[in-house]
């Protein structure tokens, strides 16, 4: 290497050093690399510990910002022109379909990686030992990702967009007292229309990105502040090998980024982003489905009164928020499933969900008719309060069974309950996506 190239490299990137000391200094002095510590414990680099999910989510978010900015130059947020501007992009603009496809599929991927990242952090107890704040920020970031997807969903102004947002915002009007006012405020009127498109566009490209940047920065900073990603507590005399960030961590990150970008690019080339017919407020498609990541909720709506179908996830999310206070046993941090017993509870929880959810879905479809069973009760009670209370009672029962008969401690029992909830949610989502046909009837996927 000539003196000249190393000189500009040193100025713009970093000097490619070969000794540990200089490599550590390079990390400390570089703006982006400074997100990392100069050295990391060797076990924290294990691929099977983090699965790289946080980093992949961050990379996907970056791709979304870049493609999103490009799309803003070509998109027109008016109900007369939004759909045509997308059509134009798809057919006339060079790389238009590619940029839009990359944005669409990155957004979908981010829902998956952020969700899996949340599961990973729960399973390794990443909310313990003073990391509770960052767990909360992480949950908020996941909510932001869903808000991004929800607002972005409307923008193409096709049938899918219009009806998914109509159904999604109508849910709000079931919230007592303030629901209708909030819904009217978001929609800019009683129905999805021009004001809604304008509102959602502003929220999607301005409000949410600012929040995302702020909270992502905090999220990363707090991980550093807490001394890097969570690790098991080790004996004082146990020596853990510490490796320099350059090259050990950085090269893993580059490899993961290269694989993700390549895979995503190939996917986008072969599967362009979908675009249905122009939105028609008179004729909903049959079946009218929400976006796939909301299908679990929509499936719940088929079985419960909307208020109950919102209260149940609300209570579960509240439980997730309270996890750092529910599971106060800190000595099992950094261990997947907490312990051997925790792993058993998780397995049992998963099996119960796999057995119970399909049976319940089919039973409700074919035999259960709660309003007919209690004809004198208002539907708010017969299809709302009753199934809600039964579900909550079942969840509490599952926890108590893990505690009493599984001899699990609270930390391990919570792992079992968590896995039960996650698997149930995934199953409901799968039923909603693949097993619901015309009139939302249960069908075998063809």
């Amino acid at each position: 290497m000539t003196e000249n190239t190393s000189n500009w490299r040193q100025k713009i990137l970093y000097k490619p050093e070969t000794d540990d000391r200089s490599r550590m200094r390079a990390v400390a002095n570089n703006l982006i690399l400074h997100l990392h510590p100069t050295k990391v414990p060797a076990p924290a680099l294990r691929w099977t510990y983090t699965w790289g999910l946080g980093g992949l989510s961050a990379l996907t978010a970056t791709l979304l910002v870049i493609t999103g900015i490009l799309l803003m130059f070509r998109y027109d947020a008016s109900i007369e022109r939004a759909y045509t501007s997308i059509q134009y992009m798809e057919t006339q603009v060079l790389f238009g379909s590619f940029v839009r496809g990359l944005h669409h599929w990155s957004a979908n991927l981010l829902v998956i990686t952020a969700f899996l990242h949340m599961i990973r952090v729960f399973l390794t107890g990443g909310f313990k030992l003073g990391r509770g704040n960052n767990w909360l920020v992480g949950l908020f970031l996941l909510a932001l990702v869903l808000a991004f997807n929800f607002t972005g969903y409307l923008l193409p102004w096709d049938q899918l967009a219009f009806w998914a947002i109509t159904v999604g915002t109508s849910l709000l009007s079931y919230v007592p007292v303030v629901g209708t006012a909030v819904s009217n405020f978001l929609l800019g009127g009683p129905e999805v229309g021009q004001a809604t498109l304008r509102n959602f566009y502003a929220i999607h490209v301005a409000v949410l990105p600012v929040l995302l940047a702020l909270f992502m920065s905090y999220h990363f900073w707090k991980v550093r502040k807490d001394g890097g990603i969570s690790q098991p507590i080790r004996d004082k005399n146990e020596r853990v090998e510490r490796l320099t960030t350059i090259p050990h961590l950085v090269q893993i990150e580059f490899a993961a980024a290269a694989v993700l970008i390549t895979a995503l690019t190939l996917w986008v080339i072969f599967v362009p982003a979908p675009l249905e017919a122009l939105a028609d407020p008179s004729h909903p498609p049959n079946p009218a489905k929400a976006a796939w990541y909301f299908m679990g909720l929509q499936e719940l709506l088929l079985h419960m009164h909307p208020l109950a179908a919102m209260a149940l996830p609300g209570i579960i999310v509240a439980g997730f928020i309270l996890i750092p206070w529910l599971d106060k046993q800190d000595d099992n941090i950094g261990l997947y499933f907490r312990s051997r017993k925790g792993k058993q509870m998780a397995l049992v929880g998963a099996i119960w969900a796999l057995a119970l959810i399909p049976v319940l879905v089919i039973a409700d479809e074919l035999w259960l008719d709660l309003p007919a069973m209690f004809p004198t009760w208002p539907t708010l009670i017969s299809t709302g309060l009753l199934p809600l209370l039964l579900t909550l009672a079942a969840l509490i029962a599952i926890y108590l069974i893990f505690r009493e008969f599984g001899h699990a401690n609270p930390s391990e029992a919570l792992v079992g309950l968590f896995i039960f909830l996650i698997v149930s949610f995934i199953l409901l989502t799968i039923v909603g996506i693949f097993f619901r046909g015309a009139n939302m009837a249960l069908v075998w996927p063809v």
């Binding site: 009127g189 021009q194 909903p284 009218a288 009164h305």
Partner: protein
């Protein structure tokens, strides 16, 4: 901040601190309020929500259902000749219901709710009967006010308007 004895006189510093704090809070409230007003719902102007002249009473046969796409309602004439303007928005989650003449019902394709001729729930998950708009009949002309959405739990005979 340390706890103070309330009998002590307020110092100039404390007074200024309190004043700046209170004024800042007031300013924030004002800015917040102004922003909320700025963002108020605004789609009603000139769009859906005005008076719709549906037509002459005699042009609607007994038991007929006629769709008014721009007014977003179905004009129903019941079997005893009374009129009802049914809002097409499903009371479950806001999808547009369609009139299925063969089945003699309003049907929502989103979650399979159905309603009878006068908007009563035949099939859940819809929680209540379809909403309606007020009807006035002036010199044989039926006029529907689509700006006023009337909610109801179920159909009652006094909701029908007769010529």
């Amino acid at each position: 901040m340390t706890t103070k004895n309330t009998s002590q006189p307020v110092t100039r510093r404390d007074f200024l601190k309190l004043g700046i704090g209170a004024l800042s809070a007031l300013a924030l409230l004002e800015v917040g309020g102004a922003s909320l007003i700025f963002l108020q719902p605004r789609s009603l102007e000139g769009e859906f929500g005005g008076m719709v002249t549906a037509g002459l009473v005699d042009s609607f046969p007994i038991g007929s259902v006629v769709e008014f796409t721009n007014g977003r309602f179905y004009l129903v004439r019941s079997h005893d000749g009374g009129f009802l303007a049914v809002y097409r928005r499903c009371t479950h989650l806001g999808c547009t219901v369609e009139w299925e003449a063969q089945e003699n019902r309003f049907f929502c394709p989103c979650h399979a709710s159905s309603f009878d001729l006068v908007g009563n729930v035949e099939n859940t998950p819809a929680p209540r009967a379809l909403d309606t708009f007020p009807i006035t009949i002036d010199a044989g002309q039926i006029i529907v006010d689509t700006g006023t959405i009337q909610t109801r739990d179920a159909f009652a005979p006094d909701q029908l308007v007769y010529a």
